[in-house]
């Protein structure tokens, strides 16, 4: 077994537990809310239409948007709760709809008979309509279950543990083993839970059969056994674990996984216990450090400047630094210090293509840009930096395409686009022999990496002492090589981290 696979499988119990608890909690809550709502809707036409409309609309929202909205509504709270609420909302449509359909499909003559022999409306519901609608309701629960297991992978982005940790880390660090393990685990969980519910339903239908065969008894025993084990596993997660001293977080790309690993290692070596929340969305992790659910992570000055301060100007590297530090102070976030490297955007071309066109700086692009195609990550062309670049140089590209980051580099390497918005510390810049173009008119922002700490953590002198050793310790080149080990050579984060620590100029 390869080291990589072994490393991934070691993570399985924790991810499985997180994923299972999240799914079961959301489905249980979904059933508790949706079945009564479905019953209510079936009895009142006035409720039915609006209710079905609302649950259908929830379903049409992109799942990521729901997660982000729930986080925002909870005042930036991350982790289990927002993921649980979003998944519960998502599970509602199939259960509500099938409850209504199931109840409506009970034959009128059976209901008339129940009424005619003297059953009360409650008895008709409990003893006739619900049992007869049960197969349809259970089918809805099974649909919701399979959806929820799949969607739970997204909860990684709001800081809840799930198989999504495998998938997002794997996608960003080009670790296909991790992606495969995560996807297979999620799919197997969906199939197993679905099968379990199906067999419980089958047993319920067999309940009235007088002759209990030995086989039936065995099946019943094993289904109950498995159910009990799964519920225990899920409940185990509810036992409060001793809270780690500090929560280290990171965004979903290679450099962030390496830096989060570095922060965690340094703190652990100093005797602290550390919990890692990796692969979180940029706005989510920033909100989390403000409210103290995250204690420390690595941020970039340009991101704070453009995204959180909404500034459109570019006062230069030092100007941004001091502006950002002051702003963060007001936000109750402590800037421990700058790490020494900068990971900013730069326009980049294949070296041979640049030579061929005689380009070394963005100014050289001005006369030919209208004939070139450009690729970017998912956000660059939507950022104010791009608008400023476009205006300052007064140029635009013929085509502007957006890609997943790995595909963006592949696209320029294979000449499908001429120019990309590269990251300056990305290992692939060197690996694909890309030329970073000069920016004489200062359109692009500086992105100095800096260590941010929550107010609570910053108040502890020993914590600050440990992190101070990391200030100004990582040159651009060291970070670029560490990233390259993962992104180009396919090494694990652990290997890159070891390399980086060897290259660090410790204070």
């Amino acid at each position: 077994m390869s080291d990589n696979l072994r490393e991934q499988l070691l993570l399985l119990p924790a991810y499985f537990q997180g994923h299972l608890m999240l799914t079961l909690a959301a489905i249980s809550m979904g059933v508790l809310i949706s079945v009564p709502l479905g019953v209510w809707a079936e009895q009142s036409a006035r409720v039915k239409r609006p209710l079905l409309a609302v649950v259908s609309i929830i379903q049409t929202f992109p799942s990521l948007a729901i997660l982000a909205l729930v986080v925002a509504l909870l005042g930036g709270r991350i982790g289990f709760l927002p993921a649980f609420i979003a998944l519960t909302l998502y599970s509602m449509l199939p259960i509500v709809r099938n409850t209504v359909t199931g109840l409506e499909s009970v034959s009128a003559s059976v209901i008339d008979a129940a009424k005619g022999i003297g059953m009360s409306p409650n008895q008709i519901l409990r003893e006739v309509k619900l049992p007869l609608a049960m197969p349809v309701i259970v089918a809805g629960i099974r649909t919701a279950m399979v959806w929820t297991v799949g969607l739970a992978t997204l909860s990684t982005l709001v800081g809840a543990t799930s198989f999504g940790n495998y998938i997002f880390t794997g996608l960003q660090t080009r670790n296909l083993v991790a992606v495969t393990v995560g996807s297979l685990a999620s799919a197997s969980l969906a199939v197993s839970l679905d099968g379990l519910v199906a067999s419980m339903q089958w047993l319920l239908e067999k309940r009235s059969e007088a002759a209990d065969s030995a086989t039936l008894k065995r099946i019943r025993l094993s289904v109950y056994g498995i159910t009990a084990i799964i519920v225990c596993l899920a409940l185990y997660g509810l036992i409060p674990k001793p809270r780690a001293d500090f929560v280290v977080a990171g965004k979903p790309f290679t450099e962030q996984y390496i830096m989060a690993g570095l922060l965690a290692q340094e703190l652990e070596e100093a005797g602290f216990s550390v919990e890692q929340r990796l692969g979180m969305g940029s706005a989510v992790v920033y909100e989390a450090i403000r409210n103290g659910t995250v204690d420390v992570y690595v941020e970039y000055t340009g991101t704070v400047w453009a995204n959180f301060m909404s500034r459109e100007s570019n006062p230069g590297r030092q100007g941004i630094r001091s502006g950002v530090v002051g702003f963060l102070e007001e936000q109750n976030v402590t800037t421990v210090g700058f790490t020494g490297f900068q990971n900013r955007y730069a326009l980049a071309m294949r070296r041979d293509r640049a030579l061929e066109l005689g380009v070394t700086s963005i100014e050289d692009l001005i006369p030919i840009a209208a004939e070139l195609s450009a690729g970017s990550d998912l956000e660059f062309f939507g950022r104010t930096e791009w608008f400023r670049l476009r205006d300052l140089y007064n140029m635009d590209f013929a085509d502007k395409l957006t890609f997943d980051v790995s595909l963006m580099y592949t696209a320029v390497a294979e000449r499908q686009v001429d120019v990309i918005s590269a990251y300056t510390t990305d290992g692939r810049v060197a690996a694909y022999d890309l030329l970073l173009l000069d920016d004489p008119r200062n359109a692009l922002l500086a992105y100095d990496a800096m260590i941010l700490a929550s107010a609570n953590a910053a108040a502890q002198p020993k914590f600050m002492q440990v992190l101070d050793t990391l200030v100004d310790s990582i040159p651009d080149e060291a970070m670029r090589q560490a990233n390259r080990l993962v992104d180009v050579n396919g090494e694990s984060i652990t290997v890159a981290l070891e390399y980086l620590r060897g290259e660090m100029t410790k204070n």
């Binding site: 059976v110 008979a113 005619g116 022999i117 003297g118 049992p131 009235s208």
Partner: protein
């Protein structure tokens, strides 16, 4: 005994009457047939007796008590009902179906079991053989036998029947008709049966009420209806069974 006193029913606040000013008395142990075309008000009249419908005006007394003063569920549990669509509960066994009303009345398990055996025996489907089956495993005729057993399980004095044999094939139908008639006579049941089949009414009922457009045109014994129809409509609806009977008689004579 069932009494209807000036009962009216309108579904549109009085603009049209589904049942218009009807008074009827059904004696204890009597079998009354309610006959008429679709929409004549016969089923509405039947359903008002156990409050599946409520009269717009007038009074209905069952054993001397106004039905409006009684809890509708309690009232229905004390009146047997055989349904047009049979209406057995498909998720329950045959025995559980028969036990439905005694269960609602919270009889003891032993009493329920004994009564189920008795009723199923009475309709010719022994408990030991049929009790654990699901209704879907029975033929249409067997299902309606269970429908009758369910209606009789709680020992009601009054049984209402809404076209109970309409969906059955002719042979099964006449078997069940005869069996039910003898059960009714043995137990001295008071029965009101809605039907649109005049032959069925003539053969089973002690008296027949002919309804048209919400009004009882004539009420009398089969003999009175056959010999002295008071309306053309009554004459018309007894004409067909009469012609058939005559034709059959001729056929047998010519043999």
């Amino acid at each position: 005994m069932i009494e209807l006193k000036n009962v009216q029913k309108s579904y549109d606040g009085g603009a049209t009457l589904a049942v218009a000013d009807t008074s009827l008395t059904i004696e204890r142990g009597e079998f009354l047939g309610l006959i008429g075309a679709s929409g004549c008000g016969k089923t509405t009249t039947l359903k008002m007796i156990n409050r599946l419908e409520e009269p717009s005006s007038g009074e209905i007394l069952v054993n001397g008590r106004n039905v409006i003063d009684q809890n509708p569920e309690q009232l229905r549990r004390n009146i047997g009902y055989v349904f047009q669509g049979i209406g057995l509960f498909p998720h329950r066994t045959v025995a559980e179906n028969v036990a439905a009303v005694p269960q609602l009345l919270q009889w003891s398990a032993g009493d329920i079991r004994a009564r189920c055996e008795e009723c199923m025996e009475m309709v010719g489907l022994p408990f030991d053989e049929y009790g654990d089956r699901s209704p879907s495993q029975l033929s249409g005729g067997q299902q309606q036998r269970i429908g009758v057993a369910r209606a009789l399980a709680a020992r009601p004095e009054v049984v209402l029947m809404d076209e109970p044999f309409g969906a059955l094939d002719p042979i099964t139908r006449s078997e069940l008709q005869e069996e039910f008639k003898s059960i009714q006579q043995n137990m001295a049941l008071t029965v009101v049966m809605v039907t649109h089949d005049m032959t069925e009414a003539l053969l089973l009922a002690d008296r027949i009420a002919v309804m048209r457009e919400g009004v009882v045109l004539q009420i009398g014994t089969p003999k009175e209806l056959l010999n002295n129809p008071s309306h053309d409509y009554v004459r018309d609806i007894v004409a067909m069974p009469r012609r058939r009977a005559q034709r059959l008689e001729e056929l047998m004579r010519n043999e």
